[in-house]
């Protein structure tokens, strides 16, 4: 999504009030943005705590501020700066984290971000955007940029089948019809399931939904999805995030308040921060039981 991100930010940089800060990352990707923005593109160096507080101060002076790093570095090290300096003051800084989830797979545990949106959404005023497809990025930059609140953009890699027609961006999208269980996947993970589910008989095929915005207070569950959850015999949530603080907890709390309780529930999530062996994002998804084969097995559809 970095190419799409760079293009979208270049378009936004026509605004004279926009400022972009990077924590010394973006080589071979963000140079066009740097060229377009001149002095308003700031490499803040390897100093994430300072970068976040600087961004808050700039937003306090009414600048349109975007901060970039790889996902684990943009939220974990400067967590207190995000809370105190951005969140307490509801300053509309946008935090872009590249390679969310196990995106930097073989780079190791320090480079993974599987507790990011859960941690950030405990903070006041924070919102999270998790684009599902590469085609979402331009819309996400616009929606997040204009939401008037601090936001975290968890960037990844869209992985739909090449013949899949990506629907226009929306916080919630129904990707596949089916008469089986309801599956809701967070972000790009949804795209990885399309091929496997599409091959199933429509009568047993899961109804696949993708969610791209959190918390639910700002992206309410669609009525059509609520109706499906109410009639399905099983609900499955898949997310590249640890169980604690994840989307599943948010959704089930929302459903409980509505008096909706799925008869059976399955949660696929990031199982571990550390592994004995490392590999690609796909490898670690498989180790966590998040790959399409694991989904089919969990739903007894293999």
């Amino acid at each position: 999504m970095r190419k799409q991100l760079c293009d979208a930010l270049i378009e936004r940089s026509a605004r004279p009030d926009m400022v972009f800060l990077t924590g010394d990352l973006g080589f071979m990707a963000l140079e066009p943005l740097q060229a377009a923005m001149g002095e308003r593109f700031i490499n803040a160096g390897v100093a994430e705590q300072n970068m976040i507080s600087v961004s808050a101060a700039m937003a306090r002076q009414s600048l349109d501020v975007w901060v970039y790093s790889i996902a684990p570095f943009v939220y974990a090290r400067p967590f207190e700066q995000i809370r105190n300096d951005i969140g307490f003051h509801n300053l509309p800084v946008k935090l872009i984290g590249n390679g969310g989830g196990y995106g930097y797979g073989v780079m190791g545990a320090t480079h993974h971000a599987i507790d990011d949106y859960g941690a950030l959404l405990t903070l006041p005023n924070l919102r999270a955007f998790i684009p599902v497809f590469d085609e979402d990025v331009a819309a996400v930059v616009q929606v997040a940029g204009d939401c008037g609140a601090p936001a975290y953009l968890r960037m990844g890699r869209g992985e739909p089948p090449s013949d899949f027609e990506v629907p226009a961006y929306a916080p919630w999208r129904h990707l596949l019809e089916g008469g089986g269980p309801v599956v809701i996947a967070v972000g790009p993970l949804a795209g990885t399931y399309i091929a496997a589910l599409r091959a199933l008989d429509p009568a047993v095929r899961p109804s696949l939904w993708a969610v791209a915005e959190l918390p639910l207070a700002h992206a309410p569950i669609p009525e059509a999805l609520l109706a499906q959850i109410g009639s399905a015999d099983r609900l499955c949530i898949a997310e590249e995030h640890v169980e604690q603080g994840g989307f599943a907890s948010m959704l089930l709390l929302d459903l409980a308040r509505r008096g909706l309780a799925p008869p059976r529930f399955t949660h696929l999530c990031a199982r571990s921060h550390t592994f004995e062996r490392y590999g690609s994002q796909a490898f670690l998804r498989a180790r966590s039981g998040l790959d399409p084969a694991a989904l089919l097995a969990a739903l007894e559809l293999a």
Binding site: V54, Q61, E80, D85, F88
Partner: protein, 261 residues
């Protein structure tokens, strides 16, 4: 905020007494770091800051001194100060996130303020707006790595509107700054940075006035050699002044001493 009258001994004495009274009536300690910072804060608010200028108190535990300075300039009322640290107050023990126009950020966790000040200064430059930025830190706060990140950033960007005041009172939460981290005096650690450094007596108004009036070509740091608990003779320079509130006897004695200074 700048007033036409120069801050003099009477104004200083009055503010010190009001600060001590406020802390006593609220049963609040932390007097030492407030009294060490108060003189410079008063002068900055009375004589230095104009309508376009910004101030950030990085050492948020000196909120009492900040509120007193704002009161001294007519930005807070006596009734406001009477609510300090009490239920339903705007004046919390550390500067609040909202409600006070002169407070840009909630501070209290050390190591944030200098970055906030640097970001403010750079934002004003990018917007081609005038305005100077003053940030007061403690000396112990320079043990926070983020403060050094901010200094590197401020120097790299040559933020010529940024003034850093360091309340160098030599005492921190559980010992002297020398004993805890071998960093004192701070100014010896700043060599090599492209930073104007001046070391002055932080209780001498003439020296503070002169340091602030000096020409500035880049970021500058004014180390204020101060005394924790300044004006309270029984606790001056002692750890007790960091935490402990005054009892009735101590308060009466303190006010008497301040009257005679």
């Amino acid at each position: 905020m700048r007033s036409s009258a120069e801050l003099g001994p009477d104004g200083l004495r009055s503010a010190r007494k009001r600060l001590v009274q406020m802390h006593y009536e609220s049963g609040v300690g932390h007097l030492g770091g407030n009294l060490s910072a108060l003189d410079a804060l008063l002068l900055v608010f009375h004589e230095f800051l104009g309508p376009d200028d910004k101030f950030i108190l990085s050492k948020g535990h000196s909120a009492g001194a900040l509120y007193t300075a704002l009161w001294s300039c007519g930005r807070l009322t006596d009734d406001d100060l009477k609510t300090f640290h009490k239920d339903d107050t705007l004046l919390s023990g550390h500067p609040p996130a909202s409600g006070l126009a002169d407070v840009l950020f909630a501070t209290g966790s050390l190591g944030h303020g200098l970055s906030l000040a640097a970001g403010t200064a750079l934002a004003l430059r990018l917007k081609s707006q005038t305005g100077r930025v003053v940030c007061m830190t403690s000396d112990g706060e320079w043990q926070e790595g983020s403060t050094w990140e901010a200094l590197i950033f401020a120097c790299h960007h040559r933020l010529e509107t940024l003034t850093i005041l360091v309340d160098h009172n030599d005492l921190q939460g559980f010992g002297s700054t020398s004993d805890v981290a071998s960093m004192s005096p701070l100014w010896t650690r700043l060599q090599g940075f492209e930073l104007q450094v001046e070391v002055i007596d932080g209780h001498d108004l003439a020296q503070i006035r002169s340091a602030l009036a000096a020409p500035q070509t880049g970021p500058r740091l004014i180390a204020l050699r101060t005394i924790k608990g300044r004006g309270l003779q029984d606790v001056e320079g002692r750890m007790e002044s960091h935490y402990l509130p005054l009892d009735a006897t101590g308060y009466t004695q303190a006010m008497h001493n301040l009257d005679s200074q």
